[in-house]
Structure formats: structure tokens, C-alpha cells
Homo-oligomer: 430 residues x 2
């Protein structure tokens, strides 16, 4: 089954809003074995909407259209569809009552412009939106299917999951099966990974089994896509390639789950091991603690952390001696070592992680240019720091130092000797 | 001048990567008065690329195409363009030398598959990519213009700014002038803002002057778009609407800059006032410190913060009495008050901000459901906390508590009496 997405909204073209809806829908459809062939993003423009519907109906079984269903004057999707299908509007009473209730609970007048939210095309099957005020519409047309949804992400996702998918499943009888397998890697660059580790995969890939490298700020995601007549075959034909990646790049793989992160992995591993970690951050400025606490259940493994942004605070809260700061500077091995140790000692955690570096854009020197970071690690049996040279970009430097710290922890918990990026540890005398 | 964007890449359709490039390019083009009419996102597919080029060349002066220029087998953009233009490849020696240098510096073999990165269409004007390995290409075609760029965001932006824009400016002689004015607001919901404060704007807007509400996780951005024959008129005709918004919603406006954030605003205001802030976080888990330290120059106004995730750490580091925790629980007014005070006292900062709440998804109770947060504020003259009921979503709760804390600080620095969302302060007896 083929699908296309029409994203309606001037704000998307002007770049004020990023089209995360299309990405989510594409991902969601692929998980159901529905192949998304194209995303068209256009303004709130009747002519463009009509042209896109004509073109995409010719080539796709399904069209998912989002946006332009609100109550303001620039929301013209409904009126365009009325003309396209030569249809009329009818009031959907359950939606009317629901929207009226929303306004009442907010203590706000339920104005006439909001009444019209409950009007739908008479030929449509209403997709009741209990999370918001704009209902979706399901419109079969000449053997094709059109789902019209509001643009607000939460409402769109709710309607896709609860109203659109059941209807699509009914229609998706004999589509080809699609299976994807993911590898999440960090601690290595894409070139080295593909050229030096994974190598030539031409005997393991084909038209039905493909491999894609998806680099991102946290590392690299590798996606193996497998298309076949049924799910069993799709799974089985991808196994040789999956095994090859495990064999050659296993050390760098922190997860084989689709949407996993290094922080979720670290939290899982700590939970399984019954251990805890504390953080002492300077250049990452809270990002490391933030990543850890993004993970539900992290309170079981994270008592807390300190963001010692000033040198005075490094001394006062983390016991970094003033002489050490004066002699070596904040961005140095002894400071990273002491910060990691103090984080663990103060909190009683099993592990301490620290960061100290030059995030930029200011603060660089010839000896310590922007992007110079020291990451410290402390445990009862190991105490070391490593130095990395990151980027001329503050936000990337913050994020990367946090990711490297989490990867060091993962490798410790997994018993992996090597450090990320082939870096060497500077072990303190224990 | 009209433009369209073609985003090439299967990962975009599968939703593994979000199409941030198209948003950035759309924004960038609009700043130059170039009107982006459509974004087409397709797979690494020759047939689709060819069809998109045919269709969009007919309707647009400019096409910006990104993606598919890498060295792996699924990068087919160049080969497709060779056929489309019936052209041949030539080696661009400066690019070859540049890429060879990159590989040498990384200590990596410069393999033959990477040599081909330096090959370009003979009819193209090479857009030299000094930030990466894939050069862009500038291809005039029947009075239209095609810019072909790599998909990596940093490289794409570098080439757009340094290579594409100068060439577009040369061609953009008599395009209509476009001016946009932005308002960044927080502390109020979209309905209340538009219905109760801004109200009816029909006498202030027209086809040439439009108003859009762009809600997002940090609040609401309002964009006024003004199209006219020249820049002076475009600026002037939008003034009545701009003034109206300042009059009616001024309290909630923290900035009139396009890409501003509440944290950058807070850092600017603190810097101007010569003041400092420290943080004590529980439920926001480091996000507040992270937001502040994202802003260059924040080290001048932020000595640091404590993430006291466990109750033990709230007592040990922030002096929250055990009896208070036992009696009222961590998510309570006295705890928020003490945390904010301790943050400032420990660090010597002028202001202390705190957060304590139930981020979720677990931990909610009937009295304190998921989303219950207390935000604390301390200064030499004011000490209070406010309670908000946020969302059933952990990440949104973390982010919103941090944003509310920063907005409280902004209002204090701006001398605004009211608190966000019409909330009431619970003042501690001073």
C-alpha cells in the first residue's frame, strides 16, 4: 500500500514551524508496512491543495493531509475540500457538544467561529477528536482513501493512532510486509564505521534488504529495511546483514531498538545492575543531568548532580583546590578527575561523571581551543579522565560531552575496555 | 521570485530524520524576499526526482534541492541529474584536493568511492564546500535556477549563506519586498491571547498584512507578514497591527526578535542589570540550568546550580529539613521556597529559582497528579512559590517548569507584577 502526505500551512514554508508531523506520520505508516512515497508541503492555498490531491490520488492508495482545519481565516482546507468533492457541510453534534464543553471548562465564550469547527463534509466519516476541537475526516474516493487531520501534533497523533490506523488496517490486506531493524551506535564517526568496520556489504544487501546510515548528533543510527511477501521472510532475509554488523561493530552498538537513546540505555543498565550515578558538570551545563532525568525511572539510579559553572563553585561544592584551578585551569585533567570523584562522594553514588571544557563560542585559547573538553569518570575501582576535541559549536559541544560521558558509563557497565572514538584514558594513580 | 525545495532522502519519508533543512531554507529564503511555494520530500528515486524537477521548473524561478550527494550506493542525485541534463561529469580539482586533505588529517585512507565526491556536472558552477566533502552545484536551466546541495545541515547552511545567496541576489532584481515582525510570548494560552487580549484584528490585517499564531512548547510566536512594493511601505503598513499587539499583550511579550528564547532574554536582562541567578532543580532535572547555559555569555550571570533529584540530596545540599519532606512531601510550597533560597545563598547569586514536581509518567497521586509542579523564587526582597498544573507528559513538564521559572525571573527584572498564566504567588512571610 502506497501513501503520500500533504502538509498544509504557510508557517511550514516560511520555516517558522518544522514539519515534525510528516516525519512522525512517515515513521508510523512504515511500522504498519505502508510505504510513504512523498511528502508535499504547501501553503494555505486552494489551488495548491487541489493540484496535490489530483496528482497524489493518481499514484497513491492513501493520502494523509494535515493542517488548515482551525477556526481562523487562513484555515481553508475544509472549504477547498467542499469544492473538490462538490459536497456540503453537516454539523456533527457529538463534536459540537464536545467543543462546547471544552470552552465551558475553560470559562470562555463559545463563539460562532468556533461552532463551525464541528461542521464536516457530508460524505466523510468523522474522526472524533477527543483531544482537541477540530475533528478529522475520513473520505474514501474512487477506491483511494483520504484522511484529513488537524495540524496540532498531539491531536494528529491521537487521531492517527485511534481513528486512522484501524481504518487503514481494514484496507491494507495484501500489502507487502516491511521489517526494519535498527542499530544505535556512538563513539565512532560514519566514515570509520562504514569503511573500517562494516566494510563492503554488497553480498548482504539487495533490492529487498537495504542498509542506511543515519548520522545525528548522538552518533549514528543504522537502519536495515527488509521488504518481502510476508513478515517471516522479511525477518529471515535480513539476518546475515544483522549478524555482520553485530560482529564487526558490536562494541559501538548501544541498542538495537528503534527510538532508543544513549541515556535510556545507561539508565536501563544502571537499573539492571542496581547501581547509581551522579554528575558534576561545567561545560555541559546541566545537559547531562537533563538527559538522564528525561528517562522515566531515572530517579532510581540518579540522586542528583551539581552544575559548577564558576570556578568558585567548583572549589566550594566539589572540593577542587584553588591552586589546581590557578595552575592548570578549569579545563584540565585534575579538575575533571576531582569533579567526578566529588559527585560520587557527595551523593553516595556508585559512579561519578564530570565535564569541563570550552563550549564556545568564546573562551578558546591556542592551547585549549573551543571544543576542548575533559570528561571524568569515577568508580570504586577506576578513576580516569579523557580529553576530546569537539566542535566550534556551543550546543553541539554541550550535547557531545554529555553523550561521551554516558557512553563511557555504558562501556564500563558492559565491561568494554575501549573508550569512545579510540581515545585514551588518563588514569589517575589509584 | 518564487522558489521550491526538493528534499531527497528515504530517511525523511520513513521519519528517521525530521526535515529541518526545508524549514531553515524556507526561513532563509523569506528573509531575502523570496517566496517559497512548496516543499517536496521524496526518496532516493530517479523517477521521482525527475518528475519533481519537471513540475517545479514549470512553476518556480528557483529550485533548491538537498540530499543524495554522498558516497554510498543510495546517493543517486548526481546520476539522476546527469541523465536529466544529458550532461557529463568532470573532476573539480580544488574539491578533490580539499577532500583528500580532510581524509589525511583524520588519518584515514582516501578510497576511490570518496574520489567521486569531487566529480560535478560539466555545466554546473561548483559551490565549493569548505565545511565538508560534498560540493554543491549551481545549474541555470531555461531561465530557471537549480541549486543542488548536500543534505548535512551544517554544510547545507554554509553553502546557502556563502554560495547560493550571492548568486540569487544577482537574479532577484524586482521581487516584492517582504517584511516580517515577530513577537515571542509566554505565560498565556493561545485562545486567551487571541480572544481575550488581541481580539478582532480584521481592521488591522489584509492581503498584504497578515497575522499568524504559532504555538510551541515555550509559548506562542506571533508572526506579522507584510508584502509590498518596497521595504519602506512593507514596514510602515504593519505598524498599526504591531502597536495593537504591544498595547494589548505587552506583558506577555518577552521579545520582538525572530529566533529569540525566554532563556536568552533572561540572560540578556540579567547581564544588563549586572545580576546573577542560581538554580535548584528537582523535577526539571537539569533542564533549567541547561537552558541558561545554552546562551553564550551565561557564565557571567550563572555561577551554577544543583539538581537535587533525591530527597536526601534536597536535605544534604539545599538544607530542606527532613521533617518538612516527611510532612509535606517533596512537591510542596515549603520545599520549593527553601530550594530557591538555598540556591542563592550557597552561590551568592542575586536570584534563586527552583522546581519540584511530578514530571510523570509515574509518581502521581489524587492530590498531586502528574504535572503538579511548584516553582520557587528568591531574591533579597521577594520570596515566593507558585503552583502550576502542567501536562501528562514528562518531557513537556520538565520543559514547561523551566520556562515558567525563567518567565518569573523575566517579570521580576521587568518590574511586571503579574505572574505567568494568571497564577497567584504564595508569599512566604519575610
Amino acid at each position: 500500500m502506497n501513501a503520500s502526505i500533504i502538509s498544509v500551512g504557510q508557517e511550514l514554508l516560511l520555516g517558522d514551524t518544522i514539519n515534525t508531523n510528516a516525519s512522525w506520520i512517515g515513521q508510523f505508516l512504515s511500522q504498519q508496512g505502508i510505504h510513504c512515497t512523498e511528502v508535499v508541503t504547501i501553503g494555505d492555498d486552494s489551488v495548491q491543495i487541489t493540484a496535490a490531491l489530483d496528482r497524489l490520488f493518481a499514484e497513491n492508495d492513501v493520502i494523509i493531509m494535515t493542517g488548515g482545519l482551525g477556526p481562523t481565516h487562513d484555515d481553508i482546507t475544509k472549504v477547498t475540500l467542499l469544492r473538490y468533492f462538490k459536497d456540503t457541510l453537516v454539523r456533527h453534534q457529538p463534536t459540537f457538544d464536545h467543543v462546547e464543553g471544552i470552552f465551558q471548562r475553560r470559562g470562555m465564550p463559545f463563539s460562532v467561529s468556533n461552532h463551525a469547527q464541528a461542521d464536516v463534509l457530508s460524505r466523510s466519516d468523522v474522526l472524533f477528536n477527543k483531544t482537541g476541537t477540530a475533528p478529522g475526516m475520513w473520505i474514501p474516493h474512487n477506491g483511494r482513501l483520504l484522511a484529513v487531520l488537524p495540524g496540532g501534533p498531539r491531536e494528529m497523533k491521537y487521531l492517527m493512532e485511534n481513528e486512522v490506523m484501524p481504518r487503514l488496517k481494514v484496507n491494507n490486506g495484501d500489502s507487502a510486509a516491511y521489517r526494519a531493524h535498527y542499530f544505535q551506535l556512538t563513539g565512532i564517526g560514519e566514515s570509520n564505521l562504514s569503511d573500517l568496520l562494516i566494510g563492503d556489504t554488497s553480498t548482504l544487501t539487495s533490492e529487498s534488504v537495504t542498509l542506511a546510515y543515519l548520522p545525528h548528533t548522538h552518533g549514528i543510527t543504522m537502519r536495515i529495511s527488509s521488504f518481502a511477501k510476508d513478515h517471516e521472510i522479511a525477518l529471515r532475509q535480513a539476518e546475515p546483514l544483522i549478524d555482520h554488523i553485530r560482529q564487526t561493530a558490536g562494541e559501538f552498538v548501544y541498542s538495537e531498538l528503534r527510538n532508543d537513546t544513549i541515556q535510556a540505555t545507561a539508565v536501563r543498565m544502571l537499573t539492571d545492575a542496581g547501581k547509581t550515578v551522579a554528575t558534576a558538570e561545567s561545560c555541559s551545563g546541566g545537559q547531562l543531568a537533563h538527559f538522564i532525568t528525561n528517562v522515566p525511572g531515572s530517579s532510581a539510579i540518579f540522586p542528583g548532580g551539581i552544575v559548577a559553572y564558576s570556578n568558585a563553585l567548583k572549589t566550594k561544592l566539589l572540593g577542587v583546590p584553588e591552586e589546581v584551578l590557578a595552575t592548570y585551569g578549569a579545563v584540565s585533567e585534575p579538575v575533571a578527575l576531582q569533579m567526578a570523584k566529588a559527585a560520587a562522594e557527595i551523593t553516595g553514588a556508585d559512579f561519578g561523571l564530570s565535564s569541563t571544557g570550552v563550549a564556545g563560542p568564546d573562551g578558546g585559547t591556542p592551547e585549549k581551543p573551543v571544543g576542548t573538553v575533559w570528561i571524568g569518570f569515577w568508580s570504586a575501582s577506576k578513576h580516569f579522565a579523557l580529553k576530546a576535541q569537539l566542535y566550534p559549536d556551543r550546543l553541539i559541544n554541550k550535547e557531545r560531552s554529555a553523550v561521551i560521558a554516558l557512553d563511557i558509563l555504558r562501556r564500563e557497565l558492559a565491561g568494554i575496555q575501549n573508550l569512545p572514538y579510540g581515545l585514551n584514558r588518563k588514569d589517575s594513580a589509584k
